[in-house]
Symmetry: C2
C-alpha cells in the first residue's frame, strides 16, 4: 500500500516574508504541493507572502472561500479538503499556507477538522499579526500579572464594552467596517488616548496612523487596535 | 562622531531552534554582540535555543536577573543596560535574545525602556509559546467572534475566576506553584474537561500530560494550560 502524504498547516507569519520561520521555509521549499486561500478577485495574501520561495515545479491549489459572509462556507471547505486529499492519498505532502498563526482564527482549522483524522498532519506555528503589532508599534504589551485579551471587533457593543473593561491590555482585530463602533466604545471607556492603530502589520504597505486621524471608510480588515498595558516597568 | 550601534530585541521563539524566523537568524548570525538573560545556576534558555547559530567570535553578555522575586530588579536592569550601552556607544550592534515574543511579558521590555530613547532600536517579533502551544496540542484555539485571553496564573483566585468566566478561549501561563489553585478554579467553573496541559512547548523535552495526571509539585514555570474555544467549526 502506498504511504499517505502529510498535511502541513504552515504558519507563514503576518506579511514580511522574512518572518517565516526556518521550519516553514524548509517545508515550503520542499513539499510538492502547496495550497492557499484566495479572495474574490483571485488574489492571495498567503501566496504573496511566500511568493519568492515558491518553485516553478510545485503544484498549487488555490482554495476558494465564500466571499459573502452570509453564504454557507461548508461546501467550499468540503471541496478544498477533497482536492487536497487527492494529493495526500497518492503520497504527496501538501502544505497549506496560513497567514499568521494557523490555529488562531485561521481558515486552515476547517481543513484540519476535515483531514487530520485521515492523514498525518503537522501544524507549524507562525507569527501572528496580533502580537507582532506590538513590536511594529514599539510598545511593550503586557507585564507580570497583566491579562491580554484578543477581541474581534465583530462583537456587539455590549460585549465589546464588557470584554474591554476587564482587559489590562487588548488587541482588537477584524476592524474593517466596525471601526467607528470600536472608537465610540474606546472613547466611552476612556481608552482612546491609549489606543494605537496599525494596518497590515509587517507588510510592505504597513501603515501606523494616530487613531483619531484614521478615515473610518478606509479601514481594511487587516488592521487592528492595540491597547498596551498601563503597568509600570521597573 | 562615531555612529551608534543598533539595539535589537530579537524574538527567538518558544524553544525549537527551527522556529527562529529568517530575520532573527540573519540578525543573530551577523551582529558582533549578543546578550541574553541567565538563571540562578548560570543557564540560559535563550542562549540554548540559539546555541547552534552563535559564532565563536561573537561577544556574549549574560544578563543577571534577580532570582528572588522579592528582590528589587531595577539595579539588575540598570546594570545590564549600562553594559549593553557600552557596546552601542562605540557603534557595535547588540542583539538581546528573547524567548518567545519580546513585547509579551518579556524581560527585554525593561531594557527597551532604558535604551530605546538613546539608541536606534528594532524589535523583531518571535513566536510566543502561548499561541504555539495550540499547534503542538493539535487544537484550533479561536473561531470567528471568540475572545482569547492570556491569563497569568499568578493572579489571585477571585481574579482568575472572573477572567476565566468571560473568556471563550484561554491560555493560562506562569503555572509553576500555582497549578493546584488553577485546577481548583477550572473544576469549579466546569472547565477542567476542556483544559489541556503542556510543558516546554516545542522544546526537546516538551511534555503533554492529561491535566488530571500532572504532578502538582513538578510543574515548571514554562508550562501552560490551554482552554480551546467550544465554537463549532463548519
Amino acid at each position: 500500500m502506498r504511504e499517505l502524504g502529510k498535511l502541513y498547516g504552515l504558519g507563514i507569519g503576518p506579511g514580511d516574508p522574512e518572518l517565516l520561520t526556518l521550519k516553514a521555509y524548509r517545508i515550503l521549499t520542499t513539499v510538492p504541493v502547496i495550497a492557499y486561500p484566495i479572495s474574490e478577485n483571485g488574489n492571495s495574501l498567503a501566496r504573496a507572502i511566500a511568493a519568492k520561495f515558491i518553485r516553478f515545479d510545485q503544484i498549487e491549489i488555490p482554495i476558494c472561500l465564500p466571499f459573502n459572509v452570509k453564504e454557507p462556507s461548508q461546501p467550499y471547505y468540503d471541496k478544498a479538503a477533497e482536492e487536497i486529499a487527492e494529493h495526500l492519498k497518492v503520497g504527496q505532502d501538501v502544505a497549506v499556507l496560513c497567514e499568521g498563526e494557523p490555529m488562531l482564527y485561521g481558515s486552515f482549522m476547517y481543513l484540519f477538522q476535515r483531514l487530520s483524522g485521515q492523514f498525518p498532519t503537522e501544524v507549524v506555528p507562525g507569527i501572528s499579526s496580533t502580537l507582532a503589532s506590538a513590536a511594529m508599534l514599539g510598545v511593550p504589551l503586557t507585564y507580570r500579572n497583566d491579562v491580554l485579551s484578543i477581541i474581534p471587533a465583530t462583537l456587539d457593543e455590549i460585549q465589546l464594552r464588557d470584554r474591554l473593561t476587564v482587559a489590562d491590555a487588548a488587541i482588537i482585530i477584524k476592524l474593517g467596517r466596525h471601526f467607528t463602533k470600536v472608537c465610540k466604545i474606546l472613547d466611552e471607556l476612556g481608552l482612546l488616548h491609549r489606543a494605537l492603530y496599525i494596518e497590515r502589520a509587517t507588510q510592505t504597505n504597513q501603515q501606523i496612523i494616530p487613531i483619531t486621524e484614521v478615515e473610518a471608510t478606509e479601514v481594511p480588515y487587516w488592521s487592528l487596535v492595540l491597547i498596551p498595558s498601563q503597568t509600570q516597568g521597573c
